[in-house]
Amino acid sequence: MIKAVMMMNTQGKPRVAKFYDFLLVEKQQELIRGVFSVLSSRPENVSNFLEIDSLFGPDSRLVYKHYATLYFVLVFDGSENELAMLDLIQVLVETLDKCFSNVCELDIVFNYSKMHTVLDEIVFGGQVLETRSDEILKAVEEISKLEAASNSISLVPKSVSGWRGGR
């Protein structure tokens, strides 16, 4: 089972943090900081796996990948295969790439909602659900369309940026 998915930048700022077991927000922040401190001390060219029993409890492992300014982190337990989890990060990044075309950190920052849509199609309640980027994208597009449709009912733009001409 997957315990958590995190994306944070090389300064330690979390961009996405999803925990599949209930935790208080303070504990979540603590874990994010803990993971960052472990990751930031890793040298280059070493393995992508870590054992982090001290943070997440017994039988917890972590896989991470460093892309440009972001760390992609998956925390899981003994019922997942390590190399498969590494592949999963790959799947996630590829999907994001197709979604945003040459995704960079800013895309992730400003598309918080979409990020979660993508993630929710891949990991469902801690289980891996879908590993083909095309299928994931199909679902994500459908959902975005539905959202847009349900929002277009309102005529007056309600957000400040809408008033200012939008972006």
């Binding site: 979390p14 999803k18 209930f22 019922s79 190399l83 590993t131 679902a139 539905l146 929002n151």
Partner: protein, 854 residues
Amino acid sequence: MASSNSLMDSLFQRSLEDLIKGLRLGESTFISKSLEEIRREIKLTDLSTKSVALQKLSYLAALHGVDMTWAAFHAVEVVSSSRFAHKRIGYHAIAQSFSDQTPVLLLITNQLRKDLNSSNEYEVSLALECLARIGTDDLARDLTSEVFTLLGSSKALVRKKAIGVVLRVFDKYPDAVKVCFKRLVENLESSDPQLLSAVVGVFCELTAKDPRSYLPLAPEFYKILVDSRNNWVLIKVLKIFAKLASIEPRLAKKVADPVCEHMRKQNVGKSLLFECIRTVFSSLSDQEVALKLAVVKIREFLMDDDPNLKYLGLHALSIVAPKHLWAVLENKEAVVKAMSDEDPNVKREALHLLMAMVNEDNVTEISRILMNYALKSDPLFCNEIIGSILVACSRDSYEIIVDFDWYLSLLSEMARVPNCQRGKEIEHQLIDIGTRVKDARLELVRVSRALLIDPALLGNQYLHPILSAAAWASGEYVEFSKAPYEIAEALLQPRTCLLPHSIRAIYIHSAFKVLVFSLGVYFSAQEPTSSSLVQESTSSGSSAVNGFTYDSISSLVSMIELGLCSLSGTIDVEVQERAKNILGFIGIIKHEIAEKATFQDSETEVHRAIAFMEDVFSEELGPVSSTAQEKVPLPEGLELNENLEGLQEICREVLEPMAESDYSSDKVSFSVAKLRIRDQEEASSSLPPPLESSSLLAEHRKRHGLYYLSSQKSDDHKDRDGNDDNTSNEYPPANEISVDSFKSKKKLSKPRPVVVKLDEGDEPKTKPDASSSNDEPLSRAIQTALMGKGKGKEKERVKENHEINLDTENIEQSSRREKKKEKNGERSSKRSSRRQKDKEASVTKPVEVPDLLL
């Protein structure tokens, strides 16, 4: 944007995007400002405003640690909107922030039901995801029928997610099994790999918790193992078989072949290959062919340049190391090479493997290699190395060590490693070896002397525990020392002021023992009738204590006196008291030393005093069992538990962290007159007052009744063991010594010395894990479901009655066999208690093992 018109602000709500932009400009005040806005906006009736506010709040909660539990009711409101966008935001917030404690949780039941029945598959998905993450018992119960319907949905997306949610529903509401299990199992025959992958994923989790109940499904899993081409599916099925095969060995034989097939494939994915290897190592290691093949394949992993594969290769080897050490030995070079790898994980795995290879013959060689690495490594790894050497060597009371002289010198070498922070463990072992191994005491004293004399070591605070052990050993076994004067001088050197007071006290006390010993030798040497005594003392042990001349003894005494004078006024009471004790003693005997030449009478006060002190120190201190405290009977009239429960609750928080953080929980601290037994397990579970006799307690109570709570004399008090049949007040001997004699089978220059071992209580007791009982209803439900299924199905399996009985017998036999195979580890208590329960369950409802296996 910062200077926006306030009128505009109040008319228009900030969207999530605005919030993010604002945060990038300036954080902390912006957060509190936004929170205020959010609180205002979220209370408005307009659902759109509410949902945007909720969305912003979710963002702040996830990434900035802002609490959002107060908005639970608003999340419920938002989710009730008919608009998809609102629903998304609402469900997202709910999944993120609701827990079992959320009061409004039940309000979403109907909404969930509506959405689960929706025709829009994405609405259904939202509801399913929400249920999967926050489902409680009530929600699971109320929505079981909806989940059942969805398990048969024609839309793949919905079906997949319904399968995923089953895991949570089963966990929270086991009766759901009756309804949903059949459909779940039907999906095992699906041809859609994604559906299949979802189902086996669920079964993988379920099997991990309770393998026995899913044994009947083995044939289905077997089919998938053989037929499927999808790596994700295969990996999960392998994990399932790993669990099943470890409780059902016949399955192992059957499964070994397909697993080997997968391993032999040309372009097999590394993840699948690794999972095959791991399955073989953990559960199929009795299958020779599979094992050999797996070892060949793991070699490829070890030789690969990819650090991930190297790490995983080493990790897999450590799984197989306990049972099949040859696999590790074959790859010894790779392991040693990995010790100098850049990656700390790889190094750590290599260290574990090296320690697994350690035995009597190679312990010196391996320790040498490891110490070299330790000197070259960073502090963290250096201490890991030292720590693991210490653990391996001290296991089973130093079973591995043949040459204790070498080991003691190794310990002192460790003490001199610059980064060493394992002082406490080394201290413990030094003292432990001193008490258990008589023949090593000479070397111990020698090693201790070297440590004590060096003034540089006193400055290193990590070494203080080791120095304290050295001081204690030097005092306790001073008869082995060649030059007591040197020891006393080292113990009282000026730099000892750097030591903490508790250790300083030990130093002083050891000096006292040295003094008493020297005086004893001096005086006994003078008596003409006891010249044999002198010869005895010179021939005992293997060190010669030269008789003291008047000059040497008086210089010893005056040196000690000088060293201690300054301490008689220190602030620390322990140090001061001990210093004063010695000074007082010296005061008594001093004048006698000079006159001794003329005085022949051995009955002087001085002689008696010295003889008395020698007596005090003469009793040998041995290792103490960790169960010794329990065996001491309570004196009559002593009530341990009364008045202490309240205290225990208050102190529980204080004591429990202490118990966990202490490194060695059966550490014994020695003092001369009393053996004070400190056992952390006992300390954390109750607070017995020191054993005073009942009369003293009663007296004290009379005088200070104000401080005692009202007492009720309970007639049937028991101590923790329920030993209430002891009438004698005598303390049984605190040590239970059984001496193990070791016959050395090899040619050695010196036979292994005798190591005192205790019958029980050598290892610290660990509390047996409370066996989880909340899996029981689920296991029962699954077994019932499978039983019912088996009776109805008449396809490939032909079931005969006698086979069923045979099967239960075999299952019982195999589980009994496993119990015997189990090592006497601490974990056996949990497993055996669970197995008892499972055995009972299997006896009452025989779990059918299909004839596939026969």
